[in-house]
Symmetry: C2
Subunit: 116 residues, 2 copies
């Protein structure tokens, strides 16, 4: 296997990268909700921490019953057990990235894992 793999992500409701890029430490999806739309279910996780990044637009998340406003440039960590659901605003779509990683799986990073 090559030491790198690339993909160019076009517009779509949801693009999942794990299979496309042969990821082994994360699953990453790029998601688009049109204005007024929402993910039609609440979910939590067994062991995965999720990190969400808003790329474009505005919306909100309801986390364990609490509403959190979101806009482009916002990043959010959500614990595995938290019950979450995502909404675009009524007037603007919401484009966001969701990164799934196993909670407590990271050991060294940056200066303690890099070789320069």
């Amino acid at each position: 296997m090559n030491n790198y793999k690339t993909v160019s992500v076009a517009e779509g409701a949801r693009t999942e990268l794990h299979g496309v890029l042969n990821l082994t430490g994360a699953e990453i999806s790029i998601n688009s909700l049109p204005a007024g739309a929402s993910v039609p279910f609440v979910h939590s996780h067994k062991q995965n921490e999720e990190i969400y990044a808003v790329l474009e637009g505005e919306g909100s998340a309801v986390i364990d019953g609490e509403s959190v406003k979101l806009k482009a440039g916002d990043w959010m960590r959500v614990s595995p057990s938290a019950k979450r659901r995502f909404f675009a605003s009524e007037t603007t779509g919401l484009k966001y990235v969701c990164i799934q990683v196993k909670e407590n799986s990271l050991e060294g990073y940056t200066t303690t894992d890099a070789v320069v």
Copy 2:
């Protein structure tokens, strides 16, 4: 600790999220290189897979001596051992996200880890 934590990322040369968001399964940085600039060193990793996403602009990466063109919307997985260096194009800056995760750390994901 709360079940979620958010941060809004402003413009800057480099923003690191591990400490800000109490991440436990990843380190994530948001990086901006002005037109004509590059990261001034080559690096690899001991055990972390890296996933790069280009948010804005154009540039390139040199991976194990091979030049790979990059533009907004591109995603790339890089193996721990690969020697990498990043460059903005001569005329356009490059804004990109770097996600560090431990190689082979992900177990279940999406349908096998989610609880709906």
